[in-house]
Subunit: 200 residues, 2 copies
């Protein structure tokens, strides 16, 4: 017989399912929530359900959206001639946080991973090609992750898109800001050297 | 305008309120939950509310309980002559996990902290004294934390309880199992030396 009341044990069991939450953290969170005002626990429970029910994929870019078309695709201020292609919605949000890109996005929802059975037809590539049909888009910026799979996906897309007469670009890969060359891995350093540019 | 849909931003805002959860972790959790089956998110939301509504304090020991009196206090197998006094419900659960103690518990719900305005009347001390009245209890084991406040609380209780003719004991303080003397702090080492016992 455990000294943990069933509802508390049950909550811990649910929290442990979350990524990066072990039993100790789950127990700590559960005890914290036990001391929290009922109203605040309710807010959290509602936020969970509302997030699940109130979020869907934009029918244009497949990013996250509240409405059928997302705010970014609806925004007339955004440059419709450039599409930035990312793997997943968090990537889009991270790029937006940089405030550097003012074009549109396209979310593939994955990257090519033949070993896991993910081929081009599993990604939103057909939908990307359809967006390019009317000739508005002049540049596709490939912002898949700098991983083996992300690079392969970028290569695949560049081969597919270049014949269409578009400018196909890839985000720069190099040493991250604030990092230390001493501790940078050799592949990153190789890329940083390869991608060197004139000092302006 | 953030690229984050409102319901997602709202969930992140609620998750950040939890201890040890920063914005990055909250965002990661939110994205994980977004990819989770709706049924599983519902399970978590319900577990939250049920924990809050289905857990109360035992009217005898003030530990956590589903019923008016907790399972530990109701268990006739537990030794009613020893009461182990702890600061908070998580302490009780941690001690139970050791499977070493077979008596009853009493949860103070805090420790003496004059600077924070917590005096003896804020703790469940009157209730503890009432439990000692009928003479069943012969030992009170003080298991408050080995912190300045916990030690002060133990000292306060021992002065209060010893005149009642009870055996008043304190959990051993010393080097934790699996630790390294080299990295143990001096107060712990001093306690470990002070509390040394004959090798049996």
């Amino acid at each position: 017989m455990s000294a943990l009341p069933t509802p508390l044990a049950h909550l811990i069991q649910e929290l442990v399912k979350l990524p990066g939450i072990g039993e100790k953290t789950a127990t700590r969170l559960a005890f914290h929530l036990l001391r929290t005002e009922r109203r605040d626990v309710e807010l959290l429970a509602n936020a969970l359900l509302e997030m699940r029910d109130g979020t869907r994929l934009c029918r244009v870019c497949f990013g996250l959206s509240v409405d059928e078309t997302c705010a970014l695709c609806e925004d007339p201020q955004r440059d419709a001639t450039v599409i930035c292609v990312v793997e997943r919605p968090p990537d889009l949000i991270a790029l937006e946080r940089s405030r550097q890109f003012r074009g549109r996005y396209h979310v593939l929802h994955g990257c090519l991973a033949p070993l896991d059975g993910v081929g081009p037809e599993e990604l939103r590539i057909t939908e990307l090609l359809r967006r390019l049909e009317d000739g508005t888009v002049r540049e596709v910026l490939l912002a898949t992750n700098p991983t083996v799979e992300g690079e392969a996906t970028a290569l695949y897309l560049s081969k597919l898109l270049t014949p269409l007469g578009l400018r196909v670009t890839r985000i720069a890969r190099g040493v991250p800001m604030g990092s230390d060359l001493e501790y940078s891995d050799q592949v990153t350093l190789a890329r940083a050297l390869e991608g060197r540019r004139e000092v302006e």
